[in-house]
Amino acid sequence: MTGLKRAFLNLIQYPSAVAGLVIILLLVALAVYTLISLPYSEAVRLWRGADNVWLENPRNAVPAWYNLFPRVNVPVTTVVDSRDHPEAVRGEELGGGVQDVQVSLPFEFPYDGFPKEVTVFLTADFQRQRPNLDLSWHTPDGRSIRLSTVIPGHTETYRVSQDARLLRQLRTRNVERGLFGDPGAEHAVPAQGTYELLVEGLTFEEGSSFSARLVVYGQAHGLAGTDHRRRDLVVALMWGTPLALAFGFLAAMGSSITTMFIAAFGVWYGRWLDGLIQRITETNMILPVLPILIMIGTMYSRSIWYILGAVIALSIFSAGIKTYRAMFLQVKEAPYIEAARAYGASNVRIVVRYMVPKIIPVLIPGFVVLIPSFVFLEATLALLGLGDPILPTWGKVLNDANANGALHNGHYYWVLLPAFLLMLTGLGFSMVGFALDRIFNPRLRGI
């Protein structure tokens, strides 16, 4: 215990190690928070986008904090629902069960950019006769644009942005420019102020009613923006954290500890066992890891845990075994091992209780540096399209971004955020690992 304490006290002498520890702690905290706040099944459901959960998110929106930059003022999504504003609904009885209902949905638009899409979600309540709705658009400068007439079913979606007839009538490049554009301006800029969507409807039955929900999709959304399928990237970035840490830690743990024990037993028993381990290691070094993992991914299973097993299996007999072997050869000759043998300790006891603990300090720095390399390996596989099919990871976000030309289309946030988290993980662990190396490796002391 005192050894560990001393090592820790030594460690916090290095500012980079302290920074690395802080990063690791933050990541672990984020991972724990994610596991508590967003359960596994919920994350999978959200990432699959089941039940139209992302319906009201814009596609490829930048993070909302982009607006904090000077001279950036892009719209965020605005939602106005007639059910939330009972005062917006005005009805007039016309007799014979016919009602003239006016729904007014006003909203503020104080932004410098055009919205991505405009959609009206309608619901109607009726027995047999559908209501008849007239939609019109009122701009802050007093113009009014007739949008369309909709005869809705029980639920109806009117995608204003995809209305070809409206676009022809507006004669602008897209519908948003026609609806939001300032007609007096030289370039296409939106006019700021209060807009209004007016739904004038006739209902033909007693008790029949309708509601309208206007969604003006913004260019910015949430903490991390959205992807091409409207999914909030926060889900993937948050869930990527525990997955990356677990993958890196388990792979590093599984491979380095097994490697160490195999090397120890090989050295202790010597002869053919040692020779066999050497040969297996040399064979394994010839095997190309990445192509084999790609083949396993394409032909067997893409589950992250299956791949994890394959990664561990392939890295057990790695070059590390040779390093450990050299160390164990020295340890084997130490007098205390001889003493252990003299009092009659069994072979297993000597290896497990006396040889292995001796080199654990030397193992720790390598172990810490190994973690991010496995995190990046998972990202690499995901980037090649071999990510886990249901779980969101950082690598999968990068893969989506890459496959949808994020860099070509200027969706930089899509690449930068997962890359930032990956880099943070890499830096955190390797900064601590480098400091540990200097502490535990006597030849490096003072260098």
Binding site: M299, G385, N402, H408, A419
Partner: protein, 379 residues
């Protein structure tokens, strides 16, 4: 491999001739022979494992058989001449054709038997024909496909490895002389950046140079359409080369400088270096004779191993940069999966690796007088 075996037998002959006259040569010969046997054995096992994995332990053949069945049934039932026959007769003909095709490809033999044949073919560098992939010239021969992809990979990796090797070596020597300076501290602080692989830096470089500034191309090896003159063509290749080379170099740069610098520092604290300093030798002479000379084996190892990895290419880096090299070929082959191409690339890689390990062993003995070949455990 044949030539390596020949080498071995020659060595053995040399050994038997000189055994009585010179025991060093006998030891060298015996050592060479055991090394070669061990290496050959590892290559065989590694290639056999690859064959097993790439064929899914034989399950790949079910896919192949059903594809043959489907293709032939489709082709025969579309054939107007076949329509004349009754369905029974047609069925017999289809079954016959399928049986012949399966026998032609040797799929009627049990997999263990065939895997041995695949192995011997692979070891004799008879790489066979690809299943789906073709070379740009249209050939299905695995050898030609690989040969076509080799030059771009070599160009990319030779450039970046040489660059990396010389930059890191000189920077490390420079820093080890100025140990503790601000520059030294910066490099030490930057060493952890190498935790990220080269494709990671590639994405950033593409983002900056191609996406935001638009000064360099996003990827590929040459502009489209390819420039007509040789001069313009090489200029275009050079422009496309900059970003991937930068990515490959940047990913390893600081860690390598750091580890070389530490390595040189350990060696420059040896007593004989102090002695040389006391004698008043110039610092360049000290570096050459007392620091670089004893570290030569390690430098050579690192350089050779760097050269080897080059043959495999960078699967992801090449994919990210759309570079038409071996790495992206292996990726395409492994995802299809085109087993002969995967096995072919691994065979070539395994041979090259084994050959370089062997050459390294010999080089160690040549450059490091402390290494006694065949000594130690054997004598």
């Amino acid at each position: 491999m044949r030539s390596m075996e020949m080498n071995g037998t020659e060595m053995m002959q040399a050994k038997t001739k000189k055994r009585w006259s010179d025991s060093t040569w006998a030891r060298v010969g015996l050592y060479t022979l055991t090394r070669l046997t061990a290496l050959f054995f590892t290559v065989v096992v590694a290639i056999y494992l690859t064959i097993l994995i790439a064929n899914m332990g034989g399950a790949m053949d079910d896919i192949r058989t059903s594809m043959i069945r489907e293709n032939i049934s489709m082709a025969m039932s579309m054939d107007p001449e076949m329509r004349q026959l009754s369905s029974g007769e047609r069925n017999v003909m289809i079954q016959d054709a399928i049986r012949i095709e399966i026998a032609r490809l040797g799929l009627d033999q049990p997999f263990p038997l065939r895997s041995v044949r695949y192995l011997s073919n692979a070891l004799l560098l008879d790489l066979g024909r690809a299943e789906y992939l073709t070379s740009d010239a249209g050939s299905r021969q695995v050898k030609l496909i690989i040969l076509e992809r080799l030059p771009p990979t070599l160009l990319l990796f030779a450039t970046s490895n040489l660059l990396l090797f010389f930059i890191t070596l000189f920077a490390a020597l420079f820093l080890s002389r100025r140990y503790g300076s601000t520059l030294d501290k910066i490099v030490v602080a930057l060493a952890p950046t190498s935790a990220a692989p080269s494709w990671f830096y590639g994405i950033f470089l593409i983002l900056l140079f191609a996406g935001i500034w638009g000064v360099l191309p996003f990827g590929g090896m040459v502009g489209a359409p390819p420039p007509p003159t040789t001069w313009a063509y090489s200029l275009s290749v050079l422009r496309h080369l900059i970003l991937p080379v930068m990515a490959l170099t940047l990913a390893a740069l600081f860690l390598q400088i750091y580890s070389w610098r530490t390595f040189f520092l350990i060696y420059s604290s040896e007593d004989y270096v102090e002695m040389a300093k006391a004698k008043g030798l110039s610092s360049s002479a000290i570096e050459r004779r007392y620091i670089l000379r004893p570290t030569l084996p390690t430098i050579l190892t690192s350089f050779t191993l760097g050269l080897i990895t080059m043959w495999m290419g960078g699967v992801v880096t090449e994919t990210i940069f759309n570079w038409p090299g071996l790495g992206s070929l292996i990726y395409a082959a492994a995802t299809m999966p085109d087993t002969p191409v995967v096995v072919g690339s691994v065979v070539i890689y395994a041979y090259l690796l084994a050959a370089s390990v062997f050459v390294l062993d010999i080089m160690y003995a040549v450059v490091d007088p402390r290494v006694k070949v065949g000594g130690g455990s054997r004598s």
